[in-house]
């Protein structure tokens, strides 16, 4: 079992024939992901990586029955691409692109939610169900199959966390990179219940960072609804106030969104909060042995 995606998931790629889209679509295909086609306006009817190219998402969905779209279009076109996918009835829209204007996501997310689509990202590594389906840019081999669910705002820190979990003798069911922007699709709060309901997932690792309130909302939710052990690390304990730390959303504004307030809230909710990012793996091991 897993959450959201598995070996039967049919995926299309928006921005299929571009440099990034091509490279990563090929990597996903070799991982075993069912990439069934892609969309590049004006290139409909061609073949790319042996898969059909369509002009529109509607055409692609009709021809392939895809339920997931992976988006690689440049930042200026992300909102359009997300809304097109939602309009075509895509169930899960995974946006990898970094640099989307906040205003665009404000409109695009509201529209996607209204249409009933789930959104992951933008500015994220994507989602992977170990040994079954990789939709994104992460190195697949790091995610060995196991019993730990992973939710993270960061890319390379997700790889670090997974690597530690694997080195501690465990593995991953599904890992979701939710993205580092101020407005993102699914957050911890929407993903936690999916891991709670997944029989294979026995523990959950949550990687957060400074800025915003998603981790605080997660803490409140965990307290009431999650029985599986949760291990959390919050990046940016040493970050100065008012400075943006790489991710558009990683900023302490008006003294709010510090690592400390998030760690305190999670701790109070019974989460195993690690201060050092090197202790994620061993803490998972301890939590699972109890």
């Amino acid at each position: 079992m897993s959450i959201l995606v598995n070996k039967n998931t049919k995926v299309i790629v928006q921005g299929f024939t571009g440099k990034e889209g091509s490279f990563h679509a090929e990597q996903c295909l070799s991982y075993g992901t069912q990439i069934v086609g892609g969309v590049t306006p004006g290139k409909g009817g061609q073949k790319h990586l042996d898969k059909p190219v369509f002009n529109t998402v509607v055409e692609a969905v009709e021809a392939t029955d895809a339920t997931v779209s992976m988006i690689f279009v440049p930042p200026a076109f992300v909102a359009d691409a997300v809304m097109e996918a939602a309009d075509a009835g895509i169930e899960l829209i995974v946006t990898i692109t970094e640099g989307t204007p906040v205003k665009d996501m404000m409109f695009a997310k509201a529209y996607a939610v209204k249409k009933g689509s789930k959104l992951i990202g933008p500015n994220c590594p994507g989602i992977i169900t170990a040994d079954e389906c990789k939709i994104g840019i992460m190195p697949g081999f790091i995610f060995k199959k196991g019993n730990v669910g992973l939710i993270s705002k960061s890319g390379t820190l997700t790889y670090e966390a997974s690597n530690q979990v694997v080195n501690a003798g465990f593995g991953i069911t599904t890992a979701v990179g939710i993205g580092g922007d101020p407005i993102i699709g699914m957050s911890y709060k929407q993903l936690l219940p999916l891991f709670e309901a997944d029989p294979e997932t026995e523990a959950i690792v949550m990687i957060g960072e400074i800025g915003g309130t998603l981790e605080i909302e997660a803490a409140e939710f965990i307290k009431e609804n999650i029985s599986k052990p949760v291990v959390a690390f919050i990046a940016g304990q040493t970050a100065p106030k008012g400075k943006r730390m790489g991710h558009a959303g990683a900023i302490i504004s008006g003294g709010k969104g510090t690592a400390k307030e998030k760690m305190d809230a999670l701790e109070a909710a019974g989460v195993h909060v690690v201060v050092s990012p090197a202790e994620i793996g061993e803490t998972v091991a301890k939590a699972l042995k109890k």
């Binding site: 790889y159 670090e160 940016g236 558009a248």
Partner: protein, 389 residues
């Protein structure tokens, strides 16, 4: 990206948000000329820097004659202003803004920002004009009125009424206030603003609302379509090393410690700073070299980190995914040929081809390159190296 007060007011005027009449000056003689052209018998001379708290730091002067305008201009231009937002090193005043004096009846606060939890902009107003809004929020939160505005419907009359009546305005001033607020909403949306603060917003004796101060910052991700805003960027207000790093696609933030960091990915970069602190050291910077970590970016990264004389050791922490560690290792060796690195460098490479990478570094036999096995090992080694141990 931030802009100056006078630039924000220029934008306000285009949208019909009332501001005092004013003119910018880079030289004292221009300041006097500006005051003469503005007319009247009272002027305000305001230092233009990208930081709040200018009034308390002596950056805002009231002049009762054009001679006084000249005197204050002379005094402020070239002066280093230290406010609670500039840090102890302060900021040099390169330009001033000369404004007409106003007959002020009452001061308010009006601001707009993205509410990340609601995922829509929120407009905030308070009767406590002139005070820091964070302070008002902490001490008397009931004095802040907030309305979230769904961009799908835009600014409606009721948003304005909630704010105006919340501020306790008399009913004959409500509509004047609402047109002000509605115009401000348009400024925010059209220009991809991240934050607008008018503190204070003043009501004149005649019952008019005027933006006495103006602070604006913008969504960096939207600057590609805001060329006019981008042309207002004042690089002299930004940290020079951060500007330089940006040119090479590196994201750099200077900190106060002595352990330099070079990492791929923003989250791992922050985590690296955190673990350095956890192991008893102090990070000198945040530096995300991006996913690629090529020889050129790594070389540039070394160069930028070493511009900070406090740096005693550097931690290169790369988790290779799509980018292979052996390539990164070769990149590091090449980089040390391009840029002279005279402090110990602890290198931790993990992920794709990590073992080959460690081999490459060991075989290179460079004295000041120390290989680390994992995140914790690297952090301990670099903290010790910075202590000279």
């Amino acid at each position: 990206m931030n802009i100056h007060e006078h630039q924000a007011k220029e934008i306000f005027r285009k949208y019909g948000v009332p501001t005092p009449k004013g003119a910018v000056a880079f030289k004292p003689e221009n300041a006097v000329k500006a005051a003469q052209e503005l007319g009247g018998d009272l002027w305000v001379v305001k230092a233009q820097i990208h930081a709040g708290g200018r009034g308390k730091a002596g950056g805002v002067k009231i002049a009762k004659s054009t001679e006084e305008v000249g005197k204050y201009a002379e005094e402020l231009l070239g002066k280093t202003l230290v406010t609670h937002q500039t840090g102890p090193e302060g900021k040099v005043v390169h330009r001033i803004y000369i404004e007409e004096g106003l007959d002020i009846d009452k001061e308010f606060y009006l601001g707009m920002v993205l509410d990340r939890a609601k995922e829509m902009p929120v407009m905030m107003a308070s009767t406590e004009g002139g005070m820091e809004i964070e302070e008002v929020a902490a001490k008397t939160p009931e004095k802040i009125i907030k309305v979230a505005i769904d961009p799908a419907v835009g600014f409606q009359g009721f948003h304005g009424r909630d704010l105006a009546f919340g501020l306790g305005l008399p009913k004959e001033q409500v509509n004047t206030f609402i047109s002000f607020a509605k115009a401000l909403y348009q400024v925010y949306m059209d220009n991809d603003a991240e934050l607008i603060e008018i503190n204070p917003l003043v009501r004149t004796g005649a019952g008019k609302f005027i933006a006495l101060d103006a602070k604006m910052s913008f969504d960096n991700n939207a600057l590609f379509r805001q060329s006019e805003i981008l042309s207002m960027r004042d690089l002299s207000e930004e940290e020079p090393t951060e500007v330089e790093a940006g040119k090479y696609g590196l994201s750099y933030v200077k900190l106060d410690g002595n352990v330099g960091c070079m990492v791929n990915g923003a989250g791992l970069s922050m985590a690296t700073m955190d673990i350095i602190k956890h192991e008893g050291g102090d990070p000198a910077n945040f530096l995300d070299v991006g996913g690629g970590a090529s020889a050129e970016t790594v070389a540039k990264g070394f160069e930028i980190i070493l511009q900070d004389p406090n740096v005693k050791a550097i931690f290169v922490n790369i988790f290779g995914g799509i980018v292979r560690c052996d390539r990164v290792a070769n990149g590091i060796l090449e980089a040390t040929k391009i840029t002279e690195v005279n402090v110990p460098v602890v290198v931790r490479l993990d992920g794709t081809n990590a073992e080959e990478a460690t081999e490459i570094l060991r075989n290179a036999k460079i004295d000041n390159i120390i290989a680390a096995d994992n995140l914790k090992d690297g952090a301990i080694k670099v903290v010790n190296a910075a202590k000279g141990a």
